[in-house]
C-alpha cells in the first residue's frame, strides 16, 4: 500500500514498526549488558505502541488488551527482572567483546533484504493495512537469532530469545491482526515463566562453571586448561 493512501495513524504504524526494527539493530550493536536491557525494554514499548495503533486503525478492540499486556510484560516486568538479575550477578557493567561488529551489522541489513524478498508474496496476498510490516516483523525474528548466534554472554542470549518472541508477536499482529486472545495470554505467561526459569539457570550456570560465558559449556573436562 502506498504511503500517501494511509491516514496519519496508518503512517504512525509504519514509523513505529521501523523503530522496532531500529531497536533490533541497536541491540545488535550494544555490547554492554545494562544498555542492552534498556534497548530491549524500548523494543517492547514500541511494539505495544504499534499494536495499539493497529487496534485504533483496524477497530479490533482485543488488540488493546494485547498492547497493554505487551507493555506491562515486555517493556516493564521482564526488563526489570533481567536488570535485577544482572545487578545481583554483578554483571550489569560488563562489556562483551564481539568480533567483527560492523560485519554483523551488515549481515543484519542483508537479513532485512532477505526478509523483504521472502515476505513479498505474503504481502501481495494480504489486504490488511499492516501488510507492509510483515517483512519487518520477520526481520525482527531473524535479527534476534543473529543476536543469539553472535553473543556468548547468557544474558545477551536470553535477550535475543525474548526479541525473537517480540518478532513473532509482531508478525501475528501484522499478518492477521493478532492471534486469538487465549493463545496470546498463554504465550505471554509462557514468556514470563521462561524469564523466571532463565534467572534460575543463570545462577546454576554461574555456580557450576563460575562464569556466564556459555562457550565454556562446550568443555567436558573439569580441569582448567
Amino acid at each position: 500500500m502506498h504511503l500517501s493512501a494511509l491516514n496519519l495513524y496508518g503512517q504512525g504504524i509504519l514509523v513505529s514498526a521501523a523503530l522496532v526494527l531500529f531497536t533490533s539493530f541497536v541491540m545488535l550493536a550494544q555490547t554492554r549488558i545494562q544498555p542492552l536491557i534498556y534497548a530491549f525494554a524500548w523494543q517492547g514499548a514500541l511494539l505495544s505502541v504499534t499494536t495499539a495503533l493497529v487496534a485504533l486503525v483496524s477497530g479490533h478492540s482485543h488488540l488493546y488488551i494485547s498492547a497493554l499486556l505487551t507493555f506491562g510484560l515486555k517493556a516493564l516486568l521482564i526488563p526489570w527482572m533481567l536488570y535485577r538479575m544482572a545487578r545481583r550477578l554483578h554483571i550489569q557493567r560488563e562489556v562483551e567483546t564481539v568480533s567483527h561488529p560492523s560485519l554483523i551489522m551488515l549481515a543484519g541489513a542483508v537479513l532485512v533484504v532477505f526478509c523483504y524478498y521472502v515476505a513479498l508474496p505474503v504481502a501481495q496476498l494480504s489486504t490488511l493495512v499492516t501488510r507492509n510490516t510483515i517483512a519487518v516483523s520477520m526481520a525482527t525474528v531473524l535479527l534476534g537469532m543473529l543476536l543469539m548466534i553472535t553473543r556468548r554472554a547468557a544474558v545477551a542470549q536470553v535477550i535475543g530469545f525474548m526479541s525473537i518472541e517480540n518478532g513473532l508477536f509482531f508478525a501475528a499482529v501484522a499478518s492477521t491482526y493478532g492471534m486469538p486472545m487465549i493463545v496470546e495470554l498463554g504465550v505471554a505467561f509462557d514468556v514470563l515463566v521462561a524469564a523466571v526459569l532463565f534467572g534460575i539457570f543463570f545462577f546454576q550456570i554461574r555456580a557450576s562453571i563460575d562464569s556466564l560465558d556459555i562457550d565454556r559449556l562446550n568443555r567436558l573436562s573439569e580441569k582448567a586448561e
Binding site: 500500500m1 502506498h2 504511503l3 500517501s4 496519519l8 503512517q11 504512525g12 509504519l14 514509523v15 514498526a17 521501523a18 523503530l19 526494527l21 531500529f22 539493530f25 550493536a29 561488529p101 560492523s102 551489522m105 541489513a109 532485512v112 533484504v113 523483504y116 513479498l120 504481502a123 501481495q124 501488510r131 507492509n132 510490516t133 517483512a135 519487518v136
Partner: protein, 319 residues
C-alpha cells in the same frame, strides 16, 4: 527571457545571502556553546571581525610552499560557493540546481576535501600529513553515509534535483515517513563528522592528538586562512540548510514575491537557530571520542542511512 534572467539574479542573490550568513551561524553556535558551558560569550559578529582582520594581514608562506598550497584556499572556497548555489535557502525555484544535483554537491565536497588534503601535505610538516590522512579516513566513511541518506530523499521524490525534490515534499504535506527519520539521523551524524564537531573533532583545542581539520590548515595565514575558515563555515551552513529544508521544508518560498521571500527568510532563520541549539546541546553533553572509535560512529551513520533506504522500499512503496 526576462523571467529567466530574474530567476538567475534571484539565485545569485540567494547564494550571496548564503555566503554572508554562514559566519553569523558560526557565531551563533559559538555563543550558544559559551552560554551552555558557563563561559563569557563573544559577540554574534565575532566571526566577521576575525575574517576582516585576517584579510587585512600580510601572508606568511612557508619556504617550500608550491603553487598548490597557494591555490588550494581559492579552490576550496570556490567549491563551497558553488555548492551553496545549488542548495535552496529561502526560495525553492533555483535554476542552478537543474545544472548540478545532489550527487554533484557531494562531488564539490570531495573536490574541496581533496585539495585541502593536498595542501596539508604540500608543506611537508608532520601535522599536515597526519591531518590530511585523518580527514580522508573520516571522509571515506562519511561520504557513503551521506550519499545513502540523500538517496532516500531522491527515491521518495524520484529526482536528484534538490529544487524539485523539496517542492515534491512540500506538495505532499505532512506525511510521516519512517525512511526520512533514519535519513535525518544519519545526515545529522555525518554533519557532525564532516564539519568537525565534537564527538569526532574539536577544532577549538589546537592539541596535536585531537586535531583533524585544524592540522591541515595549521600553516595557513592571513587571507588564505580566512578563505579556509570561511569555507568551513559555509560547509556547516550547507549541511544545516540541507537538514532543515529537506526534512522540515515548511515556510520556504515557492514564488519570488516579496511576502513569500520574507516568510522564507524568517522560516529558515528560525529553523537554523533551533538546529544550532540542538548542535550546541549535543556538543556540550558529549565528550570527544577516540579517533579509533570514529569508524564505528560513522558505520552506525551508514547503517541508519541504509535502514532509511530499506524502510523506504519495504514500508513505503506499493506492494
Amino acid at each position: 527571457m526576462v523571467d529567466n534572467l530574474n530567476a538567475w539574479l534571484d539565485s545569485a542573490l540567494q547564494t550571496l545571502l548564503f555566503i554572508a550568513g554562514a559566519p553569523l551561524l558560526a557565531g551563533w553556535i559559538k555563543r550558544l556553546k559559551c552560554h551552555l558551558q558557563n563561559r563569557a560569550a563573544p559577540s554574534l559578529f565575532q566571526p566577521y571581525r576575525d575574517l576582516v582582520k585576517l584579510f587585512a594581514k600580510d601572508v606568511v608562506l612557508a619556504e617550500h610552499a608550491s603553487w598548490l598550497f597557494r591555490a588550494a584556499p581559492y579552490i576550496v572556497f570556490g567549491a563551497m560557493v558553488l555548492s551553496a548555489a545549488v542548495v535552496p535557502l529561502v526560495a525553492v525555484p533555483l535554476p542552478a540546481s537543474a545544472i548540478a544535483d545532489v550527487i554533484v554537491l557531494a562531488g564539490f565536497f570531495a573536490l574541496a576535501r581533496f585539495f585541502q588534503a593536498l595542501a596539508g601535505m604540500d608543506i611537508g610538516t608532520a601535522f599536515g600529513g597526519m591531518g590530511a590522512s585523518r580527514e580522508m579516513t573520516v571522509a571515506s566513511l562519511a561520504e557513503p553515509a551521506m550519499l545513502m541518506a540523500v538517496f532516500t530523499l531522491t527515491m521518495t521524490a524520484s529526482t536528484t534535483n534538490l529544487s524539485i525534490a523539496i517542492r515534491h515534499i512540500l506538495a505532499a504535506g505532512l506525511v510521516l515517513r519512517p525512511s526520512f527519520l533514519f535519513a535525518l539521523l544519519s545526515l545529522a551524524m555525518v554533519t557532525v563528522a564532516e564539519t568537525g564537531h565534537i564527538p569526532v573533532d574539536n577544532p577549538a583545542t589546537h592539541l596535536e592528538l585531537t586535531m583533524l581539520h585544524e592540522a591541515m590548515v595549521l600553516e595557513y595565514s592571513a587571507r588564505h586562512l580566512a578563505l579556509m575558515e570561511w569555507a568551513s563555515m559555509i560547509k556547516l551552513m550547507i549541511y544545516a540548510v540541507l537538514i532543515s529544508n529537506i526534512f522540515l521544508p515548511w515556510g520556504i518560498a515557492s514564488r519570488f514575491t516579496v511576502a513569500a521571500i520574507t516568510v522564507g527568510t524568517l522560516a529558515v532563520t528560525a529553523k537554523l537557530a533551533l538546529l544550532s541549539v540542538l548542535l550546541a546541546l549535543w556538543e556540550t553533553v558529549l565528550a570527544k571520542m577516540r579517533l579509533f572509535r570514529v569508524p564505528q560512529f560513522l558505520g552506525f551513520a551508514f547503517l541508519l542511512a541504509l535502514l532509511g533506504v530499506l524502510t523506504h522500499v519495504i514500508l513505503e512503496t506499493a506492494v
